[in-house]
Symmetry: C2
Subunit: 353 residues, 2 copies
């Protein structure tokens, strides 16, 4: 087991990584006032564990899936907290994937102006990325994460035991963010290349989790509120990923991150920002995880980028793209040029098939 | 004019006090991206000023009154922000009383995980109290301020020109909080006693505003997130005030604070925590502002205190009460004893009439 610490001006956040971290966490719960939030999938699989661990604490089960990331779900949690007699002395436990973590985290930040929060991510994506760093949110008016808060969990429990029950698609989704870290961090990149044939291997995934969290922890400690540009680097691939996610919906967030990274990598190549063997290797890694889908309406989908909160102006699109090993760059493009380029890349992918 | 600064770990907040502060603020707005929130009363009276000052900025008008402090109103603001193309570069301007400040402040904290916020309080209560210190909230399930955030406004513009259009009842409401400061701060207490016959006088109110804000600023700087007990002192009179406010509704927040302070002052006397001339003077000041109403169901109303977020346990009621000049104390009582005592005080008031 390994502890990673993020010290921000607002809160110290400790991430306990490794096998056995959940068991250890469970041992220290006696007498604590907890309110547990989970989703229908996790509850179905882990109901016994939840009942054994959290005993009489209220458990709020939301419907699994991105479609739950609404203020209606959020208010449902907050009402349940009030109705079950929760006070400022309570701790919200978010047990689940990114959606549960985002909504329950926001609920914790809002309830009585903020109660303690513990994240227990159960998917690969939430373990390596979304449970760490305090970003919480729900969507509104078809805008991803339109309303939210920066709210650090006091503790994060990252136990690989939860990965064992994950479908392959969920692993793929987590690999989306892991490859993103590869495009930001030289050591992770080298490790990924050296293990490109065993990316889906459980032992490998266990070993790569802590380095990814450590990378994110360093970034968050330097730019908790996303103000100085450092944290923005974690959005590599996300501009196009989010736009496609809004438009096409069917795939999961991590898959869209991979697709977005692929498209934005090609834009980076076109602009001479990235190239050579490095670009080829990144494409190879992406190819090991996902087949690029064929999109007919890519231009229309790309238009959704204008609602991305990463853009201060709706007429300009900002993207974080891979540059070279351990280095990324920001590309800003007029919206119309961006839309046209995304359309061209989609055409190219179509022709290759 | 006078500037008061609050420096917290999260944000520096500058309060510009005095005549002319709004005009000065208005001069510096060119090119700023603003989203204005106000209420139907303020809009009716100041429509010309708003249009002249904020020109083409979107203006969101909520219905005046405490009943607007709901998540529905909050979501309405956030949707309007999205629809009018607001980005992270926008600033929310809260122009109005406490309700506008609370909701618009929460909207600013949530939009894209937080945009800049300027508070322009237009009532005496919001000028001396609620616009300063970063507490934002809406009610839920009949629980006051059940969901909210600590979110400091970058600037607060406190201009007495807005007081000129206020009905007397609103002045009374602000005096509720001003007398609360008197019960916490020796200098304010002395000033209030020396001016007890001109509490409603505009010049006097102008002169007492900055000292009240300075008191609050000192408290907030020492305990922004309401954690170490210092900020809790600002809740003097509020436990019973909030309970009555929830149950009886008709009066305004500041009036209930006065009523709550009166009841809790008597509890403090019963427990030997407060007494003598000091207690008499506080009662005299309260009496100059409001006549104690006769309540038949005071016990029932008092029960609502168990939903107060100031209580960590629903079976115990915590109150901040006056002790002696410049000193307050905390009284904790079992809920049933508290309810019984409130009933007795209400009976006494009834008999005296």
């Amino acid at each position: 087991m390994q502890d990673i610490v993020i010290d921000t001006p607002t809160q110290k956040s400790v991430i306990h990584c490794g096998k056995g971290s959940f068991e250890q966490f469970a041992k220290g719960l006696d007498g604590k006032k907890l309110f547990v939030v989970t989703d229908s999938n996790v509850y179905r699989i882990y109901r016994d564990l939840i009942e054994k661990t959290f005993k009489n604490s209220p458990v709020h089960v939301i419907k699994a899936g991105e479609a739950s990331k609404t203020y209606t779900t959020l208010i449902g949690i907050l009402k349940h907290m009030l109705e079950s007699g929760a006070t400022r002395a309570y701790t919200v436990v978010a047990l689940g994937g990114g959606v549960v973590g985002d909504i329950a985290g926001l609920a914790a930040s809002l309830f009585m102006r903020g109660v303690k929060l513990i994240q227990i991510p159960t998917t690969l994506l939430s373990q390596v990325d979304s449970s760490v760093g305090g970003k919480t949110a729900v969507d509104l008016n078809n805008v991803k994460n339109a309303i939210g808060a920066f709210y650090q969990p006091g503790e994060v429990i990252v136990d690989p035991m939860f990965l064992e029950t994950l479908p392959k698609r969920e692993i793929r989704c987590g690999l989306g963010e892991i490859i993103k870290y590869g495009a930001l961090d030289k050591e992770i990149y080298t490790t990924l290349c050296a293990n490109s044939d065993r990316l889906f291997d459980m032992e490998f995934l266990e070993s790569i989790t802590a380095p990814c969290i450590q990378h994110k922890a360093n970034v968050v400690a330097g730019d908790e509120k996303d103000l100085n540009g450092l944290r923005k680097t974690l959005n590599l691939g996300h501009t196009t990923g989010h736009a496609f996610e809004l438009y096409y919906k069917r795939k999961s967030h991590g898959e869209f991150v991979l697709i977005g990274t692929y498209y934005e990598l090609i834009i980076a190549q076109m602009q001479g920002v990235c190239g050579g063997e490095y670009a080829d290797n990144l494409k190879m890694l992406i190819g090991k995880v996902i087949k690029m889908p064929v999109y007919d309406n890519a231009q229309k989908a790309a238009l959704a980028a204008k609602f991305d909160k990463k853009n201060d102006e709706q007429s300009t699109v900002s993207m974080i793209v891979p540059a070279k090993e351990g280095r990324c760059a920001e590309i800003k493009m007029p919206l119309d040029e961006y839309v046209k380029t995304i359309g061209e890349i989609a055409e190219e992918i179509k022709e290759k098939k």
